[in-house]
Amino acid sequence: MRGLRTGGGWLRLMPGLTLALFLLPVLAGLLGTLLPAFGYLPELGGRTFSLAPWRMLFAAPELPAALATTLVSGLVATLASFVIAVVIAATLHGTRFFAWLRRMLAPLLAMPHAALALGFAFLIGPSGWLMRVLAPIVAPDNLPPDLHLPGDRWGLALAAGMMLKETPFLLLAIVGGLGQLPADASLASARMLGYRPTAAWLKVVLPQLYRQLRLPIYAVLAFSLSVVDMALILGPSTPPPLAPLLLRWFNDADLQTIFPATAGAALQILLVAAAILSWWLGECLVARLARRWLADGGRGHLGLGARRLGGAAASLLLAFATAAILALALWSFAAHWRFPALLPDGWTLQNWTRHGSGIERPLVTSLFLGLASSAIALLLTLGCLENERRHGLHPTGRILWLIYLPLLTPQISFLFGAETLFTWLGIEAGGLAVVWSHLLFVLPYVFLMLADPYRALDERYIRAGLCLGAGRGRLFGAVMLPLLLRPILIAAAVGFAVSVALYLPTLFAGAGRFDSLTIEAVAASANGDRRLAGVFGLLQAALPLGVFLLAILLPGFIFRHRRGMAPR
């Protein structure tokens, strides 16, 4: 029957095209990493398979310490982010503060990793803001304390920095999951049975919610164990964690070092896979142990006092993120800044101008990459969702795993190999290759942000439009897009923010010829140039924030005379 859901032959190609664009570089990249890991890389003389790369890897003196730092910082960051996010949601659910916090999540998430890490380093470093505040205690002689922070041996500063980024991400996942549950009704009935609010949340809501948190948690785990840019800023350097160590090897002047680097990239996958598997086993164990706790009838002892705990955690999170941005801004305009002084002794614009063309090019590069990748991601996502709607498809959970694949795979483990694909296609080190590699990370977020609002669009408007004689194209352009303008712009802004934050994809696919804001910010940090790091960090943070602001304000302006279009 030709009905509500047919039409658009090319639309049928969208899911396949999207998956191909999406999976090809990841799979080719994994292959291009695994083959050299076993000795096969003809360009460098490796024509036979061998275990030599692995022997070189395990002979590297830095490896044990690098692995230890990776595991400690990655696991601490994931576990702590999860616990803090749950505590905040469990204790604050239903309060006005929580509603406000929900709105603050988007700008928090829009903050690029590198900018946040730089700002955080400006807070906790020996001459950072925290030490300046504490100077009367820790530095009676007015000299910066001799602390190895950031860059501590176990990567705890790195873990703390990652928590600032991952707790909001998990909170967003919790909020998204709550929207699909009868959470308020469940809470109300548990409280009518005498459960205290926090106990009610933990016993009734969390068990229902956890299914939807699983993939985001695994993504956080994979990210924390393989992060590069934040580790370069906040992690130890002798040796660094595994992923930055591998980056160093990939960039080594001695090309033969690529062999142990690819073996290390394979080890990185094993590490992430083992961590996810262990977490899953932990889930099973906790679920088994919790069964008795869930049914023991305990109503909980934490009353409203628990809210103070969650409130303090959330406030601290926001305070650190805000202070980090402020620190970036201060350093970018600071002339001279003596140690215990809380503010610079003098202000200057020179930090912004002394690099002349240096600021403009990375800004334009980041802007271009972000706009191009989020626009393509938006087109593909809209195509897939419209195809799904017209054919009445109900995607399974397995598709969700595919969408998460680039987020669950360590970047360092496939980006080197993906270059092989780009070279084969003749687009290596060009804009197309960089945009494509950005797309791998932008697309999942755009899809995840847009899928629910798209599926929730009131189908009756579409029926009404069809019965008024409007064709599908007109209906899509004149009814669906305007009705979805708000979520579409937010999804695009999220995609843009993801792109602006990316470090490794620009580095690898661009072969060092694309200097984005992220790359400049990390480089300035490595050179110890705090003022320049402040400039690039601030720009990097301001760009996605500006786009977010636009995405939030634009629909309000366009629909200023349409009360029915106000955000719910």
Binding site: M1, R2, G3, L4, R5, T6, G7, G392, R460, Y461, I462, R463, A464, G465, L466, C467, L468, G469, A470, G471, R472, A478, V479, P482, L483, L485, F559, H561, R562, R563, G564, M565
Partner: protein, 221 residues
């Protein structure tokens, strides 16, 4: 082929193995009202969705439908020339009142003609000067009238009513009902209404067909 009106032949609606409606044979002449009565969940609205071509794939429907002699079940929804009014007015919230009405107009007229037709339609319904209004600022009765005008401007050949009076209070209800039937009669449109309200059905002054379970159940609700 010359027969005017809406004709249903052997139309039946299935949900899985359960037959909800039919088989139904109906002939609705221009200007006539036929009412299908049944409790909620009896498949009345889905039957209209089938006629419109917007049936949810979970349902299965069989039978032939002719409008002015043309088999419309094979046509895409936007070419069937059926006008439908739902319980909710479904005015597009992002368009002005005039924008909603212009959406209903067939394409291919100049901008000024479209504007003039919209203004005329509004003026004839006592809504002169409403073209630039935000639909969200209108009263329930005004919104219902705009929805009716939008549908009529799309120049349908038949009118389907899916409990369109259910949301209005009793005072407005009778007035709006009279307006709808008057307009349908004036334009010689066959009207097919589904409702669970006995008063609506009787106001149609046409044939009444009942489907689903015993109606007394429904009246007890």
């Amino acid at each position: 082929m010359s027969e005017a009106g809406l004709v249903l032949e052997g139309v039946a609606l299935w949900l899985g193995a359960r037959r909800l409606v039919g088989p139904l044979d109906l002939t609705i002449a221009p200007g006539e009202v036929t009412t299908l009565m049944g409790p909620s969940g009896s498949g009345k609205s889905s039957l209209l969705a089938f006629l419109c071509g917007t049936l949810d794939p979970a349902f299965r429907a069989v039978g032939r439908v002719r409008l002015d002699g043309i088999h419309i079940a094979e046509l895409p929804p936007e070419r069937r020339r059926l006008g439908i009014l739902f319980q909710d007015d479904l005015l597009f919230p992002h368009l002005s009142v005039g924008g909603n009405l212009a959406f209903g107009l067939p394409p291919g007229m100049s901008r000024s003609t479209r504007r003039a037709m919209v203004e005329t339609a509004l003026a004839e319904s006592g809504l002169a000067g409403f073209a630039d209004r935000d639909p969200a600022t209108l009263s329930g009765g005004q919104r219902a009238r705009v929805a009716l005008l939008r549908m009529l401007l799309s120049q349908p050949r038949a009118l389907l009513l899916d409990e369109p009076f259910g949301r209005l209070d009793s005072r407005l209800r009778g007035r709006f009902r009279r307006l709808v039937f008057e307009r349908a009669l004036a334009q010689r449109l066959p009207v097919f209404m589904v409702t669970h309200d006995r008063e609506d059905a009787e106001a149609g002054r046409g044939k009444i067909v009942t489907v689903g379970e015993d109606l007394t159940d429904n009246n007890l609700e």
